[in-house]
């Protein structure tokens, strides 16, 4: 395909999808290892009331209030889950289920009660985003990548998600040792002076930030899939955390790229006229990768050692 068509129409969604996938997969590795994988699920559900409240307060679809609202809702949810768990002595899974379903229901109710007919804000959008619409109309070809005038017309989601990805990578890089130690042996981490409670909270908040930024661009379904599937698939490939992170990033990129391409061009190859949902396709591809890893991965069994057969 020529640059004239590819750069304006596909380059930016592809990059946004990839960056979002990486930003979610990185903290996802630790969440999966800590058996907190469903925090991503909970966060992506409670983002909805956050953005609806932000919309009601500001009366407009603008990015920063919505991001703040979403982040606030995510943090509120984490606090509420902890409160329900401790005050009611309820196991974590059920506490999570109580909180995120209630907040999601509240979001849907608020949305119904508010007049959103003039703006593009609905549950479907929140669930599966609109990756395909994040096009770069100012670009004319590969040359535009270096053209400052055209670059000014980039969809704002791209720099935002790129920054988020960098921030998440920086967090993982800076806190690598404490994160690794406290993930595998929390008791030992405490004895060497790591504040595991604070670190665990920081990890969840980082995940929430990644989820909110990615959600803004690609919808919540990719967020959940990318938190869990690439790290889970990577877990089947290796017993070393460093290698696992590498695999998970590779899987995240692979599912984002193949998912986007298949969604955009797959139906055309099959003779259909229209593209299908890119977000859904990326999630599906990550699932296929996970299935492959679960069947053939060298470290897929619980014992961990590469199987003899």
């Amino acid at each position: 395909m020529s640059g004239e068509e590819f750069v304006p129409l596909s380059l930016t969604p592809l990059l946004i999808g990839t960056f979002a996938a990486i930003a979610c997969a990185l903290p996802g590795n630790f969440l999966v290892l800590r058996k907190q994988a469903l925090i991503g699920d909970a966060i992506s559900h409670v983002v909805l009331p956050g953005i609806v409240v932000a919309f009601i307060l500001t009366g407009a679809i603008s990015t920063w209030p919505m991001m703040l609202g979403a982040a606030g809702a995510a943090i509120l949810a984490v606090i509420m889950i902890e409160a329900v768990r401790r005050l009611g002595q309820i196991e974590a899974g059920a506490a999570m289920g109580v909180v995120f379903t209630t907040m999601f229901a509240a979001g849907v109710l608020l949305l119904e009660q508010t007049d959103t007919s003039s703006v593009h804000l609905d549950v479907e959008h929140a669930l599966y985003g609109n990756l395909e619409s994040l096009i770069w109309l100012d670009a004319t070809g590969w040359a535009s990548v270096l053209d400052p005038e055209a670059l000014a017309g980039l969809p704002p989601e791209l720099p935002r998600i790129a920054l988020t990805m960098l921030g998440v990578s920086l967090f993982v890089w800076l806190f690598w040792r404490p994160l690794k130690i406290s993930t595998f042996d929390e008791g030992f981490a405490r004895t060497v002076g790591i504040r595991t409670g604070v670190l665990g909270m920081a990890l969840v908040i980082t995940a929430a930030i990644a989820a909110v930024a990615a959600f803004d661009a690609v919808g919540s379904i990719i967020v959940i899939a990318m938190f869990i599937c690439p790290p889970a698939a990577a877990r089947m490939m290796t017993n070393r955390l460093e290698t696992q992170i590498g695999w998970s990033v590779a899987f995240a990129i692979l599912s984002a790229v193949t998912g986007y391409v298949l969604a955009g061009y797959g139906p055309l190859w099959l003779g259909a006229a229209d593209a299908v949902s890119a977000a859904g396709m990326i999630a599906t591809m990550s699932g296929l990768i996970l299935a492959g890893a679960a069947i053939w991965g060298p470290c897929r069994t619980r014992a961990g050692a590469p199987s003899a057969s």
Binding site: A94, E112, I282, A283, T284
Partner: protein, 401 residues
């Protein structure tokens, strides 16, 4: 308006929805209890999201066969099939790979849901104008509910309840102690699958009313609510059914009483209201009960310490202790002990001395383990034993000046 809704006076559709929601709430609450007791509440999240591809495939098949794509029975059959596939995937991932259950739940949930969305967009481009109802399965849509829909929901709910009643004993056993159940010869894995199958049935039945995202709430919140009120599993099951049914009924009535109140979310919020009330006010396990218990305990500690201080002639500086002692008439306003106060103080000190003897005597080892600084010695020793101890201590010695 609300009263009309509660007494089912708001017309045919509202009545159908209210009855359907009540039945759904009961069966979801009852079934969810076993899931909750098994500590696998969030499995329902994976199951419910996994219904979406089935709904879409069911729709496509129905259209391809020339039928009406919105036939509820066909869509429900499709959703049940794909939820079952999702369930098996999740089970396989947890049993045969190193993934923990939460990762397996998340993987199945997101991948199946993502695939369902792909299929939804395929249906949108199929060019048939009849897909409008499918998005309704995400959040439920009760507006166009038909008599047959209500009948399907009622029959499905009743069948689920019946099955739960039949296999409730093995399910309870597996929920509380899977190892013991296995040792008793119960097929634990198959019972687990049956439990999940029931959850799946409730999910499928509930798709129309509350939608696949919020049905999770009906499976989790009523059991958690009921758990606050009882320690006995049968009662928790009944209470969860009651809480779920009531939430379904009230939620449906509320949503019918005013415009723009979608049924599913309202039912969930009513359910959460019951949960919040239980969390705060339930006896024994509620927050209020815990606070009261703590305050009572604090009071006993303060009075006890205050009495010991009085008996030993020490000045009391702690304002709470002084206030409590004054209020029980044990000291006067200036901090000097009243006659009752003196008597109680002497008794407290003597008890403390008696405990000292008990704790230093190996013959009373078991009793000594009960010492916590608050327990009255009369509750653990007989009068003869106390008399024996008193002989060792000697007579009263008076309060030092």
């Amino acid at each position: 308006m609300l009263w009309d809704a509660l007494t089912l006076q708001l017309g045919y559709n509202a009545t159908l929805v209210a009855i359907g929601a009540t039945l759904l709430g009961i069966s979801a609450g009852v079934t969810g209890t076993f899931l909750f007791l098994r500590k696998r509440a969030l499995v329902s999240d994976a199951i419910s999201h996994a219904t979406l591809p089935g709904v879409c495939i069911g729709f496509m098949l129905l259209v391809a066969l020339g039928g009406d794509g919105r036939n509820l029975l066909g869509l429900l059959a499709g959703s049940a099939a794909s939820a079952w596939v999702g369930l098996l995937c999740m089970n396989w991932l947890t049993r045969h790979t190193r993934l923990a259950e939460d990762a397996a739940i998340g993987a199945v949930l997101s991948v199946f849901f993502g695939f369902g969305i792909v299929l939804l967009t395929v249906i949108q481009t199929m060019g048939v104008g009849r897909q409008a109802g499918l998005e309704g399965f995400l959040l439920g849509s009760t507006a166009g509910m038909l008599w047959t829909d209500a009948l399907i929901i009622a029959l499905g709910g009743a069948a689920t309840l019946l099955l739960v009643m039949i296999i409730r004993r093995p399910m309870t056993m597996v929920a509380f102690d899977p190892e013991y159940a296995a040792a008793q010869g119960l097929p634990v894995h198959r019972i687990d699958l049956a439990m999940m199958g029931l959850v799946m049935a409730v999910t499928v039945v509930g798709l129309k009313i509350v939608g696949l995202i919020l049905i999770v709430a009906l499976l989790i919140i009523p059991p958690v609510t009921a758990r606050f009120w009882s320690q006995r599993s049968e009662r928790v099951v009944l209470l969860a059914g009651l809480a779920g049914g009531l939430a379904g009924y009230l939620g449906a009535a509320l949503s019918a009483s005013a415009p723009n109140l979608p049924t599913g979310p309202i039912i969930v919020l009513v359910s959460f209201g019951f949960f919040a009330l239980s969390l705060l006010f339930a006896p024994v396990r509620g927050v209020l009960a815990a606070v009261l218990r703590h305050l009572r305990f604090q009071r006993r500690v303060h009075i006890r310490q205050g009495l010991l201080a009085l008996a030993q002639g020490q000045q009391i500086y702690e304002p709470l202790t002084l206030r409590l002692l004054r209020r029980s008439g044990l000291v006067r306003a200036d901090g000097v002990a009243t006659d009752t106060g003196k008597a109680r103080a002497a008794k407290a000190l003597r008890d403390e001395k008696r405990w000292e003897v008990v704790r230093s005597d190996l013959a009373h080892e078991a009793t000594a383990a009960l010492y916590d600084g608050l327990r009255d010695i009369e509750t653990v020793l007989t009068r003869d034993q106390i008399a024996e101890i008193d002989r060792q201590i000697g007579g009263p010695q008076g309060v030092p000046a």
